[in-house]
């Protein structure tokens, strides 16, 4: 007799069980395969979606003041980019501006795929930073506290062209406002970045040609009349500088974006003057700094008077005398100079200096005026008390200035800027944009070259350096740097005393958690009862 427990299953039962197991196993396998295959399919779709999102994305600025919203001008520049640009952020991530600047660069990248971003942190990647610093020639400066580092924050690179943006070009904090409990942070990062982009993607480097052959100021340092400081400044602005001998030249070199005539002591020939006229009328830009050179008790001619008059600027053979003692430095009391000039005209060059009015130190100046105020703009004028002496021989004989009817009454214009019409007649039905394109060059004339002296450019309390920079910027047609508005972000700084901090700590570490705990206790008590 065989019990049920030891009963051997009938072959039919075994077959049924095996069949059931097979079906269950098959269903399990099918179910799992279904999960895997469907998941892989959805994963592939998600991957494709992310690839597209990675390539084409938007960044929305939700900040109250739109700190990260790019201006229309910048967006237009980015959409028109036709060169690839590498942007290197070489700040330490511990620096206060790092996050905001990084964000701004990301927004540039979001607008244009031409831009590739690189972030090199000098603290975290010192090796890579050193290699990069050498390649990009970042240089080293004392950052304070004995720390040596570069004052360059961003480098833009397109092909062989580079543009460096320093820390000071990005953000400045208004300390006066801070003392009044407000923090005003002027964000100039966008201005600097967009200007740099324009610079590195323009057809070729901007070149300034300095005329030689008429006793002009020389390049380099050491000479009595040298342009060493101005030269250093232009190099920092990534400008190429070369000298240009006008005597015997048939044309101004084609790659000269601006010609500088600084302090000639002898006159240009009419052929040379015509050379410069053609250059400007053909779209070239001209800067003339004409010292009042005395010879035989008369101011000598520069040879450029007629050409400049045709451009709308009159160079007088007069000497500007400043009689208002407020504009004379304490150490110098002569009205001939040096003196401060602080009355600014309305022009893109002068905008940074007008409010509050800042002064520029001039050595000895002649008057330079617009022939017609509609055609040219006075950049700088002396005070109401000043005048321009036209009869120098009489003044020298008398030994002191004496104002008469022939003299020019103050304020006397000593710096003028204008834009020149291009040669040739305008075609019929020319649009405004086309007319703008057809405009000739830009001309700035200053009645003194000494304001560019290295000694004056180095003075912190006057604006000689800044004025020179603004003139160079306008003449080399980089006014995008000037015209892009900076942003002013106002925010009340976080100010807490130790008592405030302790009070805050008590609220967030004790009171708030205690409130949550008692809420939980109340719920528990309620349920329990």
């Amino acid at each position: 007799m065989t019990s049920d427990k030891t009963r051997t299953p009938e072959p039919k039962e075994t077959a049924e069980k095996t069949a059931r197991d097979d079906v269950a196993s098959k269903r399990r396998f099918e179910g799992r395969t279904n999960v895997v295959v469907a998941s892989l399919l959805v994963f592939a779709i998600v991957l494709m979606g992310n690839y597209l999102s990675f390539r084409h994305y938007q960044r929305w600025d939700w900040t109250s003041e739109g700190v990260f919203t790019l201006s229309d001008r910048t967006r237009a520049v980015l959409h028109e980019l036709d060169h690839d640009v590498d942007a290197w952020l070489v700040l330490s991530s511990a620096e206060p501006n790092y996050q905001d600047l990084r964000e701004l660069l990301q927004r540039y990248r979001a607008e244009s795929q031409r831009i590739t971003l690189h972030f090199v942190d000098p603290d975290r990647e010192p090796g890579e930073y050193r290699v990069l610093a050498e390649r990009l020639r970042l240089g080293q400066v004392d950052l304070g506290g004995g720390t040596l580092g570069s004052d360059v924050a961003v480098v833009l690179e397109s092909g062989e062209r580079q543009w460096k943006i320093g820390r000071d070009d990005l953000v400045s904090v208004d300390l006066d406002a801070m003392e009044q409990g407000q923090a005003r942070v002027d964000v100039r990062s966008e201005q600097a970045l967009t200007g740099g982009l324009l610079e590195v993607t323009a057809g070729r480097p901007t070149k300034v040609c300095i005329t030689q052959g008429h006793g002009e100021w020389t390049l380099g340092r050491g000479a009595e009349r040298d342009l060493g400081a101005l030269q250093d400044q232009m190099r920092r602005d990534n400008l190429d500088i070369q000298t240009f001998e006008t005597r015997g030249a048939e044309r101004v070199p084609e790659d000269c974006d601006a010609v500088f005539v600084v302090g000639p002591t002898t006159a240009f020939s009419s052929a040379e003057a015509e050379l410069l006229r053609s250059y400007v009328q053909g779209g070239g830009n001209l800067f003339v700094a004409a010292d009042p050179e005395l010879r035989d008790e008369q101011i000598t001619a520069t040879g450029l008077e007629e050409v400049l008059r045709d451009f709308g600027i009159r160079i007088d053979r007069s000497l500007v005398l400043e009689l208002d003692p407020r504009f004379l430095p304490q150490s110098a009391t002569s009205p001939i100079g040096p003196y401060l000039v602080a009355s600014w005209g309305d022009h893109p060059i002068t905008r940074p200096f007008r409010d509050p009015p800042a002064g520029v130190l001039f050595q000895i100046a002649r008057s330079v005026r617009p022939v017609d105020p509609d055609r040219a703009t006075t950049l700088l004028s002396t005070s109401e008390s000043s005048f321009a002496e036209t009869e120098l021989a009489q003044m020298i004989q008398r030994g002191e200035p004496s104002r008469d009817d022939a003299d020019l009454a103050g304020p006397v214009s000593i710096a003028v800027a204008t834009r020149v019409e291009r040669l040739g007649e305008a075609p019929e039905g020319e649009t405004e944009d086309a007319a703008e394109e057809r405009e000739g060059g830009r001309v700035v004339v200053v009645g003194d070259a000494d304001f560019l002296d290295s000694q004056y450019l180095g003075l912190q309390e006057v604006m000689n350096y800044e004025l020179a920079s603004a003139i160079v910027g306008w003449l080399t047609e980089r006014e995008a740097l000037i015209e892009l508005p900076g942003r002013s972000v106002e925010a009340r700084p976080v100010r807490m005393t130790q008592e405030d901090v302790d009070g805050l700590g008590f609220r967030v570490v004790v009171l708030l958690p205690a409130a949550i705990f008692f809420l939980g206790f109340a719920v528990w008590w309620n349920r329990r009862s």
């Binding site: 998600v46 994305y57 003041e65 990260f68 996050q99 700084p493 005393t497 958690p513």
Partner: protein, 248 residues
């Protein structure tokens, strides 16, 4: 779906354990905020409405914040489905006239409610900061939006792991591995000098995402990434439950 979500939410908020967890969370977050505020107070200048403000630093600017979040996510999600599996209530649930999608979405909705509840107390930090300096409400809104999207992806991962695992502990460990892995991969942006690789790591970096949101910027890439993880995790969770129904 709503019934399931409501059941989960009620069972969570009537549990004393939930309040113990929330209290501990509030203490940790509060202490961290207190440290940042004390640091800001010691600085000569900290603008209130910038990325340097204690509020912007608090959300995603410190490691402690992420440590707390990485620990709390598994605690919030581990029991959602795994507990049903352990107690055997998953079988009647799967045979009930309710779809797997409704089950998963209901659980996910509940998890998101827990997640949002975690950050409700931090609203007070904004109010407190505004008493001592300016607070950029736009940036604060972007920050909470970023936290919400991060919550979507990590809660979805938690739901998935809870669906895969058969008990809470395993679910918690799997969830921790998933979210910590996600977090760690993003740290590659600080490790890899190569720009191409770094850009990819930045794309997935939780740290980078929250830091960006904290400055007031909302990036569609981060949004797409978080929504992708959410959709993928929830989809797989639904499929896992379907497979379990097949398995009987």
């Amino acid at each position: 779906m709503w019934t399931i979500a409501k059941r989960e939410i009620v069972s969570f908020f009537v549990s004393p354990l939930a309040y113990v967890v929330l209290t501990a969370w509030a203490v940790l977050m509060g202490f961290q905020f207190y440290l940042l505020a004390a640091f800001a107070a010691s600085q000569p200048f900290t603008a209130g409405a910038t990325s340097e403000s204690p509020l912007a630093q608090f959300f995603g600017g410190t490691t402690l914040f992420y440590l707390c979040v990485l620990v709390i996510v598994p605690l919030l999600t581990m029991r959602l489905i795994a507990e049903e599996s352990r107690t055997g209530t998953i079988e009647p649930l799967l045979t009930a006239p309710v779809s797997e999608i409704a089950i998963v979405l209901g659980k996910f909705l509940a998890a998101m409610t827990f997640w949002c509840a975690l950050f409700v107390p931090t609203l007070m930090y904004g109010w407190l900061t505004s008493r001592f300096g300016d607070v950029d409400l736009g940036a604060l809104g972007a920050t909470y939006f970023g936290l919400f999207t991060l919550g979507l992806s990590w809660m979805a991962l938690g739901v998935l792991m809870s669906a895969i695992a058969r008990n809470q502990i395993v679910a918690a460990m799997l969830t921790f591995l998933a979210v910590a892995g996600h977090f760690m991969i993003g740290l590659g942006q600080f490790v890899f000098p190569d720009d191409g690789a770094r850009e990819i790591f930045e794309y997935v970096s939780v740290w980078g995402h929250l830091s960006t949101y904290a400055t007031g910027v909302v990036d569609t890439r981060y949004l797409v990434w978080d929504l992708s993880i959410t959709a993928l995790a929830l989809f797989v969770a639904v499929r896992v439950l379907e497979a379990r129904r097949y398995e009987g």
